[in-house]
Symmetry: C2
Subunit: 310 residues, 2 copies
C-alpha cells in the first residue's frame, strides 16, 4: 500500500514506522525543519522499550508531495488540519482513503471541505508516543485504535475493514468500530473535562481531582458534552463519564495533560476549539447554551494571548 | 465619639488615624500579632505623601475589647466578618452604630446574625491605602466614601447623617447616600468582572483587557450581576458597566487586583464568595442560574486548594 502520514510528529512517526516495517510504501509529511533534516540525514530513530532502530523513510514538506497514495493518516494538530489538506491535494486521488486520528470533535466539518465524504474515515487511538528530539521518536503507551467509514454502506465498510487489516498486519492493534463517533466523543469529553481546567489552574490531573471543586466543575462540563453529543446521535452517560474521569485522574496522577504542556509549558496555541470550544459552538446551532465550556474556552484563549503564543 | 475600627489593616488604620486626629476616642482592633506589637511599642506610623507621623492609638485583639462604643467601622476581610462580630460583642451596645465598609455583596446576611437591623449602616469607599509593614500604613488613592442606614426611616437617616458629619470632620470625604446599595453593587460588579479573571489568568488589568476575549467574558459576568441585582431592587446597566470596566482597566493598567495579590502572590484565601460566589448563590434563590460566576468561583476555590492557601 502507498501510505502517507500527514503530520509526522510523535504519534505519526510511530504509525509511519510500523506501517513501513510491515512492507508498505510509506512517506512522512511534516513542517518541522529540524525534524525533516534529521530524518533525511540520519534516518528516523525509533526507541521501542529497550530496542533502538534507525530507518530510512522518505520525509517531505507538505508542498513537496506529488504522487497519489492509497491511504493518508492525518495526525496534525487540530488547528493545522485544513492547511495540511490544502497542501497535500496532489496525493489525494479519487480513491484515496483519508483517516482522521486527531483528538477532539468537529474535524469532519473541516475534512468535508477538502474531500468527498466517501473518502473520509474517522478514527480514535489511545496509543501514545513521545519525541525525544527532532527525528527521534520514543514509543510509550500501548492501546487500541478504532476506525470506521464516515459514510455508511457495504462498500465503505469494506474499505474501512481493509484499512483495519493493513494496520493490524503492521502491529497496530486496530478494531473496526460500528460506532467510532461514540469513542471520539467519549475521549473528547474526558479531555474536555480535564485538559483545559488543568491548563488554566496550572496543575496536574491528580492535583485538580483532589480539590473539593473538581467533581462539580467536571460535571458541569460533562453535562454540556452529553447534551451536544445527544443532538449528534451519540449517547454518553453523565454519571458514568464523571466517575470515569475522576478515577482516571486518580490513576494517572502526576501527568500534565497535553493542553497544559502546549499552553503553560511551551506557550503554544491549544486545541481548545476542538474540545470545549466545539461544544460551545455546536450548542448554539442546536438552540441552547453551553456556558461552562464557553467560558473555559474563552479563558484559555485569553491566556494564550497573555502568553503571546500566537 | 467613641469609635472602634474592627480590622485595622491598611484602610482601617487610615480611617482610625484620621478619626483619632480629629479628636475622637478611637481604638483599633486587629489579629495580626506583629502589627499589634509594633503599634503598641512604636506607635502607628502613618505616611501621607511627604508627611510621616507617629501616633499612639490603643490597639487590641478582638477578644480583649470591653467598653461599649458609639460607632464601629468594619474593615475585616469578608471571610472574617462573622468571627469579628462574635468577638467584639462586649463593645456593641443597644445604640452602637456598625458601619460595614467591606468590599463585595451579601455582608448584610452576616451582619443580621449579630446586630439589630437598626444598628446596621452600609457603606462603600474608594479610598485606598497600603501597609508598608506591620504598624506602618501608607495612604494612597483619595476618593469618596458613601454611607446609608440599612433600615429606612427618619430616625435612622439622622444617625447616618451624623456619622457622615463625624467622618467629614475627620477629613474623610463622605456623602450620605440615598442608594448605597447601588454603589455597593456597582463596585462589586467591577471587581467581580476583573479580580477573579486576573487572578485565574495570572495577569494585570490591562493584560486581560487587551485580549480579544475580555469584552465577552466581562459581559457574561456582568449580565449575571445585573440580573441578580435587579432581583435585589438595584438597577445596573449592562452596557454602561461593561464599557466602564473596560475603560477603567485601560486606565489603571498595570495594577494587579487584590484577588490576584491574595491568591497568586500571597497564597491567601480570596473574597470570591462575596463577589462572583454571592451572585451564583443568590441566583439560585431567585430560581435561575449564574453559570459564569459559578464556574469562576469554583475555579478560584480549586486554585486556592491547589496552592494550599487554607
Amino acid at each position: 500500500m502507498k501510505i502517507a502520514i500527514a503530520g509526522s510528529g510523535a504519534l505519526g512517526s510511530r504509525f509511519g514506522y510500523m506501517l513501513h516495517q510491515a512492507g508498505n510504501d510509506v512517506i512522512l509529511i511534516d513542517k518541522w525543519k529540524e525534524h525533516i533534516n534529521n530524518v533525511r540525514t540520519k534516518g528516523l530513530i525509533v526507541e521501542d522499550g529497550e530496542d533502538k532502530h534507525v530507518v530510512q523513510i522518505p520525509i517531505y514538506y507538505p508542498n513537496e508531495v506529488r504522487d497519489q497514495v492509497d491511504i493518508v493518516f492525518m495526525f496534525t494538530k487540530s488547528m493545522g488540519l485544513g492547511e495540511m489538506l490544502e497542501d497535500i491535494q496532489p496525493i489525494l486521488g479519487p480513491h484515496t482513503s483519508v483517516i482522521s486520528l486527531l483528538n477532539g470533535i468537529g474535524h469532519e466539518d473541516v475534512l468535508k471541505n477538502y474531500l468527498p465524504l466517501e473518502n473520509i474515515f474517522m478514527g480514535v487511538t489511545i496509543l501514545t508516543s513521545g519525541l525525544a528530539g527532532p527525528g527521534h521518536v520514543a514509543f510509550s503507551g500501548a492501546g487500541l485504535t478504532e476506525i470506521q467509514n464516515f459514510v455508511h454502506g457495504e462498500e465503505q465498510e469494506k474499505i474501512a475493514r481493509n484499512i483495519v487489516q493493513v494496520m493490524n498486519e503492521a502491529g497496530i492493534n486496530t478494531n473496526y468500530s460500528t460506532d467510532v463517533k461514540f469513542s471520539i466523543w467519549r475521549k473528547a469529553c474526558v479531555n474536555g473535562a480535564m485538559n483545559a481546567t488543568c491548563a488554566l489552574l496550572d496543575c496536574n490531573l491528580a492535583e485538580f481531582e483532589a480539590t473539593a471543586q473538581a467533581e462539580t466543575v467536571i460535571r458541569h462540563i460533562v453535562r454540556e458534552f452529553v447534551k451536544v453529543a445527544k443532538e449528534k446521535d451519540t449517547l454518553l452517560d453523565e454519571d458514568e463519564m464523571v466517575q470515569y474521569i475522576l478515577e482516571s485522574a486518580r490513576k494517572v496522577g502526576s501527568h500534565h495533560p497535553s493542553m497544559h504542556q502546549d499552553l503553560m509549558q511551551n506557550h503554544r496555541p491549544t486545541e481548545v476549539d476542538f474540545l470545549n470550544g466545539a461544544v460551545a459552538r455546536m450548542s448554539e446551532g442546536f438552540g441552547f447554551d453551553a456556558p461552562y465550556n464557553r467560558l473555559i474556552t474563552q479563558l484559555i484563549h485569553a491566556k494564550e494571548e497573555i502568553l503571546s503564543v500566537h
